[in-house]
Structures are given as C-alpha cells and as structure tokens.
C-alpha cells in the first residue's frame, strides 16, 4: 500500500499580488521528514517493545526528490522482557522508489534488518502527486501498529484495508472538524513547522506567523523570512483539554489519553504560538517554564495526517 503525499511537490505559483510562491521542493522535503518523525515519535510500541530512533534528514540537490534518507528506527525488546519465541524481532521496511515514475530510482534505499528507512518520491514538474512509499515484510499486526501513520504493503496485501489500531482508520474518518483545506495547510507549513516569521526591513518589526504584509507598517515589499527560536520557549499560558472540550478531529486522541495540554509560548517580541503539548511521562507544563518543540503528527483531515510542531516539556516527571 502506498501512502499518498499528494502535492508534496507542487507547481510554482504566483500569488494574487504577483509575488512568486515559495519553492516547491522545500516543502516536499519537510512533509516527508515530518511524516517519518511523527511515525517515530507517536508510535505506541506493543507491550514489551520500545522504539529507538536515530538518523538524519537529507534533501537530494537538483532533483524533485526530497526525503528522509537514512533514518533508522530500531525496534527492540524492552529490558527485562522475555523473548517472544515465534514473533519476529525486527521490522523491515524498504522504500519502494520504483513506483515514483522513475525519479530517483538510483536513490532507492533498502532497509537493513532492524531498520525502517523511508523516503519521499516525486514524479516531476508535470505531476501533482508525490508519495511516501514504504513496504513492510515479516511483521505481525501488533508490530504494524508500531508504524503509526505509515501504512504498509504487507497490510494491504493481507487484509485489503488498514488494520485497526494503526491509526490509518482515523485518517479515513470523515472529519467533523473546521476545515483547513490542504492548500492552506501547505501554505502554513513554513510558520507551523519551521517557525518562520517575516521581518519588515522598512520598520524592523518581526511578524509571526507569515501574513505577507507587515502588521506594523503595512508594507508587503520589504519582508524577509526569518526563523524564530524553536527551543527554550517561555510558556505564557497553559491549559489542559479534558474530554468533551476537544475539536472532533482530536476525539481519538482524547479517547486514548484522556486529554492533552495546550500552551501559549513566546517566540520573540510580537511572536507567539499556540502549541499542543506532547503528553505522557515526558513532563508537565506550567507558566514560566521553558519548553522545546518537535514536529509531530496532530490530526487527520481530507484523508491524510496533518503535522505540526508540539511543545515538549523540559522538566521530566520524576
């Protein structure tokens, strides 16, 4: 099964005011990177297993192929867990770039044992479909669940539909959420994922998120992109969303976790961001704390997972 990553590479556009849209391949890269990062971060290992992730994101220059190559996710038994006699001990995922219309075939990466390696492929400037393709072999349904949002070839061939618990059922749900169309989602990626703001060279003000016009002096012709801090951000406000207070696109998350924190953090003067906090045993959030951020899977809409930066507590629970 392939996981569609439509329009991860998209055609150059001109905005209504004549300005060129951002370059196409940058976001293709980020989409793929986020997908993999989210898979690693948000997967819930089966009992007795844990995930150890390492790797590096690369973008292949001068091509539309952009992805995350070399990321390795080792799935290993947690300490003190008795060996499982019949189960496989590794996941084995290959990036099947043969299905990407020939682009970057020579860059196909085949996983080694104990590893998941994935990438994104593009079919060039004439197409509108990029995809993240992953294949899995030799895994049981319980272990497929480790993959979170990445559906697998093994699943589709075996059952014809995503197995329960993989998260792909959420992706297929009809969203009752406020619609954030894919085009707007993509448009917001620089600010949402990379915390890019825009500095007005006319008045000096840094605006966030990107609006294409200075909030202070109104000029649109003197704006330059500027990346704002993504770590050690002071918390200005914090809440914890309980059952019933979540938007419907977060229903499954609340059913599983009972709720989640949301924080308002300061990125700099005139620049703040509202972020969901990562939960679990990683720590707590309080006003005055400083938090880090990480790209995470957030919710499903229009048949695919959406990703955004989440706050990560820096005061682990004891």
């Amino acid at each position: 099964m392939t996981v569609p990553m439509r329009a991860a590479v998209y055609r150059p556009l001109r905005r209504s005011d004549g300005r060129a849209a951002r370059g196409p391949d940058e976001d293709a890269f980020t989409l793929a990177a986020a997908a993999i990062e989210a898979v690693v971060a948000d997967s819930s290992p089966a009992d007795g297993w844990e995930i150890v992730a390492s790797g590096a994101a690369v973008q292949v220059p001068d091509t539309l192929f952009a992805g995350l190559l070399g990321t390795t996710v080792r799935v290993r038994r947690a300490p003190d867990t008795p060996p499982e006699p019949s189960g496989p001990t590794t996941l084995f995922v290959a990036v099947d770039l043969a299905e990407t219309n020939g682009v970057a075939e020579d860059r196909a990466v085949v996983a080694r044992g104990d590893a998941i390696v994935a990438g994104a492929g593009g079919n060039g400037p004439t197409g509108d479909a990029d995809r993240l393709i992953a294949a899995v072999s030799g895994v049981s349904p319980a272990e497929v669940a480790l993959l979170g949002g990445v559906a697998t070839r093994a699943d589709s061939e075996r059952a014809g539909s995503p197995p329960a618990g993989t998260g792909t059922d959420d992706r297929s749900r009809v969203s009752e959420g406020a619609l954030l169309p894919r085009a707007r989602y993509l448009e917001g990626i620089p600010s949402h994922w990379r915390f890019e703001g825009e500095r007005c060279e006319a008045c000096g003000r840094v605006g966030f998120p990107i609006r294409g016009r200075c909030r202070n002096c109104g000029r649109a012709d003197r704006l330059v992109r500027e990346r704002l801090p993504r770590a050690q951000l002071p918390v200005l406000a914090v809440t914890r969303i309980g059952p019933g207070a979540q938007p419907t696109e977060f229903d499954t998350q609340v059913e599983r976790s009972g709720g989640y924190p949301v924080v308002l953090v300061e990125l700099g003067p005139n620049a703040r961001a509202t972020l969901q906090g990562t939960d679990g045993d990683r720590g707590t959030f309080a006003i005055g704390d400083r938090v880090n951020t990480a790209l995470r899977r957030t919710y499903a809409m229009e048949g695919e997972w959406r990703y955004a930066r989440k706050a990560v507590a820096t005061n682990p629970r004891t």
């Binding site: 009752e176 406020a178 809440t239 914890r240 969303i241 309980g242 998350q253 949301v262 955004a308």
Partner: protein, 389 residues
C-alpha cells in the same frame, strides 16, 4: 446626547434543550415581542428585519433572513442576516439602529435565533469551533473552552487571583438565573461545587462554562419620535460602540485584554454621553466565567486585575452596587449563539420597565449590554436608558 432609537417591544423564548424547531422558536419570540407593545403594532409596518444567527448545524445558512421575515409575519420587509459569531445579536441591534438613524426604516424587527441541540455531539463541537482561529488555535486542539482556559490561566497568574473569583461569577449568575423563568439552568450552585466540578479546560471546570442552548429573542425597535405612538414606556438606545480585533489570541499584545471590548465600550460611552457610574446594571458576555472578569476590566469598571476582588466583594450581585447579569448571564440563562445579544437587550427592556419580577434590579434607569464574538474578535456594546432626552 439624543436618543438613537427606542425599543417598544421585546420577546423571549425559554432557553434550554427544547423540542421546538427554528421556525417555532422564531415565531414564539416574535409573537411575544409584538404582544408586549403596549398599544399594538401592525406587523406590516415593519420596514426592516435583522436576523442574528450563526446558522448552527448548517440549518438554513443561506437566505435565513427571508425565512425569518416569513415567520415574523413581515414577509415584505427588507431582511438581512447578521453573523458575527456570538456577537451576532449585538451587531444586529446596531444594524437596526443604524437603519432607523439613517432614515431607511422607522420600525425594525431584530430577531436572534439559534437551534443548537438538533445535531450530534460531534457536529455540535464542529460548529462551536467554526468562529475561532482555524489556522493555529484549532489545529492545536482548542475550541473556545480551551482558548478561554489559556486566557484564564494567564489571568490568574498575572494578577495573582485564585480560582475562587471565577467560581464566584458562576455562583452569582446561577443565583440570578434561578429567578429567571426563561433560563436554561434555574438552580443555584455553591462555590465548592464549582471548584470541585470536572475540568473542561483547566482552570475552567464544568460550571465555568455556559451551556449549549436553543432559543430565540426578538425586539421591536422604532425611531425615538415614533416610539410614543406605541408605548408610554419606551426603552431608549443612547449609545452604540462596536469594534473588532485580530482573530487569533496569540497575535494580540496581551491575551487577557480584549481590545475590541475596550474600543467598543469607549465608543458607546462617548456616544451616550454618560459616565460608567450612571449604569444601574450590566449585561456582560460571560460565555466562560473568566470572560465576565475580563469585561469588567476592558469596559473600565475596575482596574486591571481588579475584577476578581470586585466580584468577590459581592458588588456585582443583584443587590450590589454594580449588578452584573441579573438574568443569569450566558452562564446560567444559556447561550443560543445568535440569540444572546438580543436576549441581553430583552433583559434591559424588562428591567428598565420594572417588569423583571423576582430578579428586578431596584431603581434601574440605565444599563449596558456587552456582546462578544468568539474570544474577543468582535464586540458590540449598547447603552440603554429610560430617561427622556
């Protein structure tokens, strides 16, 4: 300053989880409004109708005003749908007053309506979120309860106020709502119950949040000159103020201050030519308990950080020196989105005419309504009086 317009009739349905459909709610409120006009008023004389509604659930989003005119028995009137989220009612009143002041109408009908309990829980939460910021707040997992929870957390920390101040808002408004036969909740609660209730969006608990209500309210508004043809006790509209703010709270200079409310309030007082001390009572937009505290400060009735102590002192109770929400507010009376701003004006109408029964504020001659859209993105403030110009 002279009067801008006059309310000569007002009607109200009960608020709550009701079996009535939208058409029935409209009819009930409008019929009650016309029935309250002391010397009667021919519905054919309605020049303009303004319907306030979010179109909750997707019911008749398009051309809803024509349907309202049909149900109001004024099918030939100029009819307009006004939508500014939870502030739709306040802005619809302003639109009617503007129509009268411009000479475009002599008699206007304002109807606020929302039918919120016809839909599934999931769809209801979808509609409760459509008026917030969908680029940042919603994708972070916030509905308005969460947005106000963030604001409340910062307010309590910034001003070193305890959650008791929030709880007191709920206790007071439930006590008032218990005396209002139209209220969604007609029961009192004590502070321990509020503080011990399940958390919705910390620090806000169940009793810090207004309910999801069905209901409608209607006003018959005329020019000041025409009012005396219909009643000897008109309630005059003396000052209007309305403003907006950036949609996302994260982009505001200080999340605990609603600039739209401050600007709307200042404009309304300037227009009415009266001081804040002249108000007999206030109808404030308390969709969450924290919102009432913010409004007291943004409207200038106390200093920043002063709303908690003011509330805890009992000053905002019905018998206090500055009664707030004698009808129970959104918190207890309910919050059918489009109807709320009109319902606030209904309360002013009955209070200033001495017809509020058990919840009557003594010697009430002037009042203010404050209606907010979302988390402060829009605000409409209106000042009423019974005094002759």
């Amino acid at each position: 300053m002279g009067h801008r317009a006059a309310v000569v009739g007002a009607g109200h349905t009960r608020f709550g989880v009701l079996p009535d459909g939208p058409r029935a709610l409209l009819r009930t409120a409008v019929d009650a409004a016309f029935a309250s006009v002391d010397r009667g008023l021919d519905r054919g004389s309605v020049d303009a109708l303004f319907l306030a509604s979010l179109g909750f659930g997707g019911w008749q989003i398009g051309n809803a005003a024509a349907l309202a005119a049909e149900e109001a028995g004024a099918p030939g009137a100029r009819a307009v749908h006004v939508e500014n989220a939870c502030a739709s009612g306040g802005f619809a009143i302003h639109a009617a007053v503007d129509a009268i002041a411009s000479g475009g109408a002599e008699v206007a009908l304002v109807v606020g309506l929302e039918k919120m309990n016809d839909v599934t829980n999931a769809r209801r939460r979808y509609w409760l979120g459509v008026s917030g910021d969908t680029e940042w707040e919603r994708p972070a997992g916030l509905t308005f309860a969460g947005v106000y929870g963030l604001i409340a957390s910062r307010y309590l920390a910034l001003h070193r106020v305890g959650p008791e101040a929030l709880a007191e808002v709920a206790v007071k408004n439930h006590a008032n709502g218990a005396l209002n036969p139209n209220a969604h909740f007609q029961k009192t609660v004590d502070r321990a119950a509020v503080l011990g209730a399940p958390r919705v969006a910390d620090p806000l608990g169940l009793y810090d949040c207004c309910p999801v209500s069905d209901g409608a309210a209607a006003l018959v508004i005329t020019s000041p000159e025409a009012a005396r043809r219909y009643t000897d006790a008109p309630v005059y509209i003396d000052g209007l103020g309305a403003a907006s703010d950036v949609l996302a709270v994260q982009e505001r200079e200080e999340p605990t201050q609603f600039g739209a409310t401050r600007r709307a309030g200042d404009a309304a007082f300037r227009a009415a030519g009266v001081d804040r001390g002249a108000m007999s009572f206030l109808e404030l937009h308390d969709c969450f308990t924290i919102a009432e505290l913010l409004a007291l400060e943004d409207l200038g009735f106390c200093a920043r950080g002063g709303a908690g102590p003011l509330t805890l002192s009992g000053a905002t109770r019905r018998g206090g020196r500055l009664p707030v929400n004698p009808d129970g507010g959104l918190k207890s009376k309910g919050h059918p989105i489009g109807a709320t701003g009109v319902s606030q004006a209904y309360e002013v109408f009955v209070q200033l005419r001495g017809a509020a029964g058990a919840r009557q504020v003594e010697n009430a001659t002037r009042a203010l309504t404050h209606n907010v859209g979302g988390a402060g993105a829009t605000a409409a403030v209106t000042i009423f009086s019974t005094e002759e110009a």
